[in-house]
């Protein structure tokens, strides 16, 4: 990891009123800073993500929501010239610690991307990919995983007769649900979703939202979205980000109806953004 830069001296002025889950927090982000080269993208981000709840990250374009999300499973590691400060802890362990196994970390965090990115292979192979790279070759286990994950992703009924067909033959919405099935196939603890519906039509979006609702409780879900109605519909807690800072983090209902921060109010009421 690059050397830890100076953290800005001002205390974070974030407004906090999050809903607390039954099992407490699973991810703790503490004064997390991130630079792309010389440009700082995240400033002193500090939130606790509650286990089993759906947490939405909202905010205008370029505010750093995706960057924060991708920091959770260290997808940003691929970028040259990245520097970090502060800490992110999963179950109390710093994920940026030298000894942490990145691959093991990513196995605990399924991720769904903005555009559906099924692999150019069959539907079944897509779903079993995460456990195959883990070395699982037992056909019975693989078959069970396909069925379980596809059922959990509400795709089983549509594709059960063509599991050997290429995944690229599916529609956009089906592809995204396949990606969700793939993300939960290895039974992760956390599901990260980076604007999962931005490339989908309203009908497919509705299906994904229903799915998120069903997955609630089984997985801790962190979802980045542009769509405020969506955040209001699916999430328990919402973090509003602006220019790399977390302005308000709290219960979704409160954030959208009676925000404590002026900026949040301006944004959710559509005055800017």
């Amino acid at each position: 990891m690059p050397d830890t830069p100076q953290v800005s001296p001002d205390p974070p002025d974030t407004v906090y009123h999050p809903m607390t889950g039954a099992e407490g927090s699973i991810i703790e982000i503490e004064r997390f800073n991130l630079w792309y080269g010389d440009k700082q993208a995240l400033f002193d981000n500090s939130i606790d993500i509650q286990m089993g709840l759906v947490t939405a990250l909202i905010g205008p374009s370029g505010c750093g929501k995706s960057t924060l999300l991708r920091s959770l499973n260290r997808m940003n590691d691929l970028i040259d010239g990245l520097r970090l400060g502060g800490a992110i802890r999963l179950d109390g362990a710093d994920i940026y610690h030298r000894d942490i196994d990145v691959i093991g970390l990513r196995k605990r965090m399924g991720m769904v991307f903005q555009k559906p990115n099924p692999f150019p292979m069959s539907i079944a192979d897509n779903v079993t990919y995460p456990i195959k790279v883990d070395g699982v070759r037992d056909r019975r286990v693989l078959q069970e995983t396909v069925e379980r994950a596809l059922k959990a992703a509400a795709l089983w009924e549509e594709v059960k007769d063509r599991l050997r067909d290429s995944a690229l033959g599916l529609s956009g919405g089906q592809q995204q649900r396949l990606c969700i099935a793939r993300a939960i196939a290895a039974d992760p603890d956390v599901l990260l979703m980076d604007e999962p519906c931005s490339a989908l039509d309203p009908l497919a979006t509705a299906k994904i939202e229903d799915l998120i609702d069903e997955l609630r409780g089984r997985y801790t879900i962190v979802i980045v979205t542009h769509n405020m109605q969506q955040a209001a519909r699916v999430s328990d807690n919402t973090a509003f980000m602006y220019l790399g800072r977390i302005v308000e983090y709290g219960k979704t209902k409160t954030v959208f109806t009676t925000p404590r921060s002026r900026r949040t109010e301006d944004y959710v009421t559509g005055r800017f953004g």
């Binding site: 499973n73 997808m75 691929l78 040259d80 691959i103 093991g104 990513r106 196995k107 965090m109 399924g110 991720m111 991307f113 555009k115 990115n117 692999f119 150019p120 292979m121 990919y129 995460p130 195959k132 790279v133 883990d134 067909d165 290429s166 690229l168 033959g169 599916l170 956009g172 990606c179 793939r182 993300a183 290895a186 990260l192």
Partner: protein, 562 residues
């Protein structure tokens, strides 16, 4: 004013550029078409039997031959003076130009030339007698003349009886006898020679290892001598058998006579093909045509490569290209993978990339020199010292050979593969890589399961380009293992079956050798076209196979659409 405005409009419409671009394209297409047509046409007509002419010259002599080609030329002044006045007038009318025809007169053993130019003004008259035959022989090139007699053991046939069915049957028999003699001489005696050589090398190996005055050496010597005696006996038996067959064979002969009545007695088994050129119908002509093609594709070369077939060259080209592809594919793909997937993109990588691109522009002969110096003389000599010390000073790998030629060409084509693979890797969407990494796959697993399969069609394209370039390359091969006549194919029945150290024949070099290095370049000229046609066909076939494989891969990975 109007003119100016029109010019502006014209330029705005861009039509002159359109014409220019269209013109450039059609010029290119025309040149390619013309080239391909030239090769295909000349390659296809070469084997078609031509009629034979008997030409009566004004000086009273006669000659017989195949008219090969004709041209208009300007005879030297002193030649004109020897002509009759009316001839001279006619020529002056035509501006001092005369017309002449090149005849393939054959009978090299009589005349010491195969071809002769005959100017029209020399000719009294010509005819095409039906009894003239064109005889292709194993040695001395073709014979043009008539059949006088056919001697089959104790019976002798003359006149009409000597031609036709009996001749064909006798010739087929003679061909079988020739094949048997050849099998004994090349196959069985060859096997004995192989075992003798092996026994000698074993002995030498023992001598090198244990010293010449050791018990092991004396033992091996005794064993070797016993084996040699046994092999000598087998050799004598086979040689006697071959001699008996040969003396039997000598009783079957054909008596030929050239146009001036000079006779030649020829063993039937030395005749490859005999046909009365002027008495053939279309069907028979096609038969001769087909049999010549078959000989070309399936036989070994004769007569300094100007006759016979090119099977060893086809074989050599094919095996070498495949070996090259096998060598270049992993090498180039791994280099590109490192450059694109692992190396930190910076100035160093850019410099490496520029170097790789520039490597493609190095003259191929330089690669040949490098291959000879590095592979043959350094690596090969090292291999010889370690693994084949008993064969020294005769080099095994320490000289040009199939392996070194393939590796040299692999080196020559590796930039093509690297560039194509890098482009194919760059075209794999980043989202797929991220998807795979997010699933907990390692970088290598991502490359293996996601990136490489997706990039495979592009990599195959690079490999196809490399193969096309490699199969057509000649210059470096001349230094690293291609020879004009290889006595043995690189694959045979003796362990280890694929002999990578052997020198081999190559179609590209064959073209050069036949067309420009043989004593009889006129006879070789048609073979140049046929061999070129064959080489192009071979390259097209190799590429078509690779493209077929690539398209199957594409279908496998690209079913459906967004």
């Amino acid at each position: 004013m109007t003119g100016g405005r029109r010019a502006v409009n014209l330029e705005a419409r861009g039509e002159p550029f359109l014409w220019g671009m269209g013109g450039a394209l059609s010029l290119g297409v025309l040149m390619i078409l013309g080239f391909v047509l030239l090769i295909v046409w000349n390659g296809l007509i070469t084997f078609y039997p031509k009629p034979l002419r008997v030409v009566h010259l004004k000086d009273g002599t006669r000659l017989a031959g195949e008219p090969t080609r004709a041209e208009t030329y300007k005879p030297p002044a002193q030649r004109l003076e020897s002509l009759s006045p009316e001839e001279r007038d006619r020529m002056r009318e035509r501006g001092g130009l005369a017309h002449r025809t090149l005849y393939r007169i054959g009978n090299y053993d009589f005349y010491n030339e195969d071809f002769r130019w005959v100017s029209d003004y020399q000719v009294e008259r010509w005819e095409a007698p039906r009894e003239m035959v064109f005889v292709e022989r194993v040695e001395w090139g073709p014979f043009v003349g008539v059949v006088q007699a056919l001697t089959l053991g104790d019976t002798t046939l003359t006149g009409e009886a000597a031609l036709g069915e009996r001749l064909h049957a006798a010739q087929a028999q003679a061909a079988r006898r020739r094949a048997r003699i050849r099998r004994i001489e090349r196959g069985e005696i060859g096997a004995i020679n192989h075992r003798m050589e092996k026994s000698r090398l074993t002995l030498r190996g023992v001598a090198l290892k244990a010293g010449e005055d050791s018990a092991a050496y004396r033992q091996a010597l005794a064993r070797g001598e016993a084996q040699a005696a046994e092999l000598d006996a087998a050799y004598a038996r086979l040689a006697a058998e071959a001699a008996a067959l040969k003396s039997e064979d000598a009783r079957y002969t054909i008596t030929l006579a050239d146009i001036n009545g000079r006779e030649k007695v020829q063993a039937l088994s030395e005749i490859v093909r005999i046909y009365p050129a002027n008495a053939l119908n279309l069907f028979q002509r096609m038969g001769v045509y087909a049999s010549r093609w078959w000989e070309f594709l399936s036989a070994e070369p004769r007569e300094a490569n100007t006759e016979g077939g090119v099977l060893p060259a086809i074989f050599g080209t094919f095996v070498m290209t495949l070996l090259m592809a096998l060598a270049v594919a992993p090498f180039g793909v791994m280099a590109a993978l490192y450059l694109r997937e692992y190396a930190r993109q910076g100035r160093l990588v850019s410099a490496v990339r520029i170097c790789v691109n520039n490597l493609a522009g190095v003259p191929s002969i330089v690669y040949g020199v490098f291959g000879l110096g590095f592979f043959a003389y350094i690596v090969g000599a090292g291999i010889d010292r370690i693994f084949y010390p008993e064969r020294l000073p005769n080099p095994t790998f320490g000289t040009g050979g199939l392996l070194w030629a393939s590796l040299t060409l692999a080196l020559l084509t590796v930039p093509v593969v690297i560039v194509a693979t890098e482009e194919a890797l760059a075209a794999v969407p980043q989202s797929l890589r991220e998807g795979s990494l997010a699933c907990g796959a390692s970088k290598w697993q991502t490359i293996k399961y996601i990136v490489l399969p997706k990039a495979l069609p592009g990599i195959m394209t690079g490999l196809i380009l490399a193969m096309a370039r490699g199969a057509g390359e000649v210059a470096p091969l001349m230094l690293v293992g291609v020879v004009k006549l290889a006595p043995e194919l690189p694959i045979d029945a003796y362990f280890p079956f694929l002999h990578l150290e052997r020198s081999f024949m190559h179609l590209g070099f064959h073209i050069f050798d036949v067309g420009f290095q043989s004593r009889n370049s006129e006879a070789g000229k048609p073979m140049v076209f046929v061999t070129t046609l064959l080489l192009i066909t071979l390259v097209v076939l190799l590429n078509a196979t690779a493209i077929f494989i690539r398209n199957r891969l594409k279908r496998k990975y690209y079913v459906g659409h967004f």
